[in-house]
Symmetry: C2
Subunit: 415 residues, 2 copies
């Protein structure tokens, strides 16, 4: 048996035990995990220091090192996150539908765990504990494959979690970490359809593309966001400025940040100067010919590539259109199906936009930054799906479950 087959076999064995755990027991274990992580502070910081030392030796940027860094505060944050998950309702066992057929068969559609979830992520070590708490709460076994940068930290987190599980009398294999972080092993991991029910990549566009192209396990694609704000002819322009500033600048490097402004020709001469003044040169504007005329030296000329780019940076593309429909067509052509907004006082335009834009989340008069499991009130988030199969938009606990049909009969056969 190969290393990966061993992991897969252990996870498949664990999933039956986990699916049968009751909510109270799961919550109790989550609280214990949170406590044990806090008590493990010195070991966690020591492991993290090793990762940071390697990172510095390899010349990792300060910003990236900061993403990798644990502090006592951050450890408490991680534990607090686990305790929050313990407080959330357990979706497993929920009866989604119940009906009787004319032949007397009683059919129940019941929410069940997926079984085994694979999560492939990059350097932030908080994802390790986060992903465990969400998959465990939903009765799933998880196999984690984190980045090699965080391997010491991730190993220590998982060691503590497995010890907490064992102390609680529950299989440690509820969580396993792929300690071989080579690309070859990652590629093989994506092909473990015989063991893993669903694979969720969390990270940059490159990681996600690689998983989508290589996996034979069903994938939930997450997180790439080329989000648009369309300012309609009938917009409240001050509201539009406020929404744009928030969507673009409140947090620059996240998937629900705005990357492109679409503006109606009828208001561009008033609106674009307002926006330019509000941005105070904090953002590079890449404008099409018509908006460039208005913006002058405050902008540069956009290429077609700009409209399809998720910058995650202090850059905004600007496109001029002549109607809501033209805005919808432009957005559907260039977006990633994540989040797009219209600012308008016109109810008809709002409905056209809500129906016409093919995104997970479509907004009227609000910032795209609200696309988030916590902001939606799900209490948790494993990622934001940009595909249409299974889950779309923010994914909370329910989105980490499947269902089964339980059919009770009295000897029925098919005629």
């Amino acid at each position: 048996m190969t290393y990966l087959e061993e992991l897969g076999t252990a996870a498949c064995k664990a999933k039956y035990e986990l699916a049968a755990l009751n909510t109270e027991k799961k919550n109790e274990i989550l609280r214990l995990c949170a406590e044990d992580l806090e008590n493990g502070e010195s070991a966690l910081l020591a492991a993290n220091a090793k990762d940071l030392e390697h990172a510095a030796a390899r010349g990792m940027s300060e910003a990236m090192q900061d993403r990798l860094r644990l502090t006592p505060d951050r450890i408490r944050g991680i534990s607090e996150g686990i305790r929050q998950v313990a407080l959330l309702p357990d979706p497993v066992g929920e009866i989604l539908e119940r009906f009787e057929r004319p032949n007397g068969l009683q059919i129940e559609k019941v929410r069940v765990p997926f079984g085994v979830i694979g999560i492939i992520f990059e350097s932030r070590p908080n994802v390790t504990a986060d992903a465990f708490s969400l998959t465990f709460k939903t009765g799933n076994a998880v196999i984690l494959r984190g980045g090699s940068d965080a391997i010491c930290t991730n190993s220590e987190i998982v060691r503590i979690l497995r010890e907490s599980l064992q102390k609680s009398g529950v299989t440690r294999d509820a969580v396993q970490l792929l300690t071989d972080t080579s690309r070859e092993t990652a590629a093989q991991f994506m092909k473990m359809k015989a063991y893993v029910d669903v694979l969720i990549p969390r990270g940059g566009a490159g990681l996600i593309r690689s998983v989508v192209e290589n996996a034979n396990i069903p994938v939930i694609e997450t997180g790439t966001g080329n989000c648009h704000v369309y300012v309609d002819e009938d917009a409240d322009l001050e509201m539009a400025v406020k929404i744009l500033l928030n969507a673009k600048l409140q947090r620059i490097s996240v998937c629900n940040a705005c990357e492109s402004l679409v503006v109606h020709r009828g208001i561009k001469d008033i609106f674009l100067p307002m926006l330019r003044d509000a941005l105070k040169e904090r953002v590079e504007l890449r404008a099409d010919a018509e908006s460039l005329e208005v913006l002058g030296d405050a902008a540069v000329s956009a290429t077609e590539e700009d409209f399809g780019t998720e910058y995650l940076d202090y850059i905004l593309s600007v496109k001029t259109v002549g109607s809501v429909q033209e805005a919808i067509d432009h957005i559907n052509r260039y977006h990633t199906g994540h989040s797009d907004a219209i600012v308008t006082k016109n109810a008809e335009h709002a409905e056209l936009f809500l129906n016409g834009v093919d995104s997970a989340c479509v907004y009227v008069n609000a910032s795209t930054r609200f696309t988030d499991g916590f902001e939606f009130g799900f209490g948790a988030e494993i990622g934001i799906s940009t595909q249409k199969l299974h889950a779309r938009g923010p994914m909370g606990l329910r989105e980490l479950t499947s269902y089964k049909y339980k059919v009770r009969g009295t000897g029925q056969v098919r005629g």
Copy 2:
């Protein structure tokens, strides 16, 4: 632009028009399509005769030729199927949830079409019209890739459907057929993630495996069924015989037919002879050592491979176990997660089995043959999903939809 890119572009253009069609208009078009197919009987039979001629020349078996054959009756059956779909409720637009956040954001989760669905299937030409009616009713554009054996028939069906659409003033590209039926083109089709939202293969295990391994489009895996019936120690043995005969023999070549009997040691000496007598040598029994002792010359020895095989034939494997849990473990090891049944009078055993067996449909005291969209009351079926992502078990109209979040605000920004 390549041939496939042209098809993809046309489908992506069509999807917006289709998503906006109201239910009445869709139903009217479906009824017209049904009528036009009936009126096209002679052209359909002529096209089908060409396929049959090629098939005979290539030495296709009579059974396979029969699957390919259209008759006036079968054409009426196809049209009747379309009319039935017109009568079903339209899932598109259903508001799945509606909630308000403390900041005043109004969030609606609304059922929407996927967009573009790809369907890859084998020789039965009725799938062509069937797949169109279900995808059209749910507001999706569909690209069909049927087997080369049925290419003349499929082309004629799609020609008629496209003409009906055009007469109705709706884009003909709601349905397109891949007329190049080469394997290379099929392989490229599976990689059209930029155009196709979901891919559904319908056919044998080989086709499905090929799609799962090669596609970069999200796939819904359908139809492979290694289904089990477990006869418990506490079973009503006459009921068990009746259920087994039905599950095994009512239709031999379908995915919800029983392929394996699991029998409790405590009743095998009584039950196996009852079953043997009822089967009257119609079925080859491949038995493990313990059951072989009872069955004697009426059975042959099973290999491990037998337990993992979907025969679709007059063959049944037989496994002896000592408890419900052992039965569950055996089934979870060898099944395909499609449909499995327990026959028992013991309520506790029934619940253990319902919870422990990891299948789309788990039955107590009923035949596995009920796993079917019509038998479940969905009024239609595009296939039976054996994966856990998105849809599990029989897939009707709802399973051909996704959802989006519509969020209405009054200028909210994230703090």
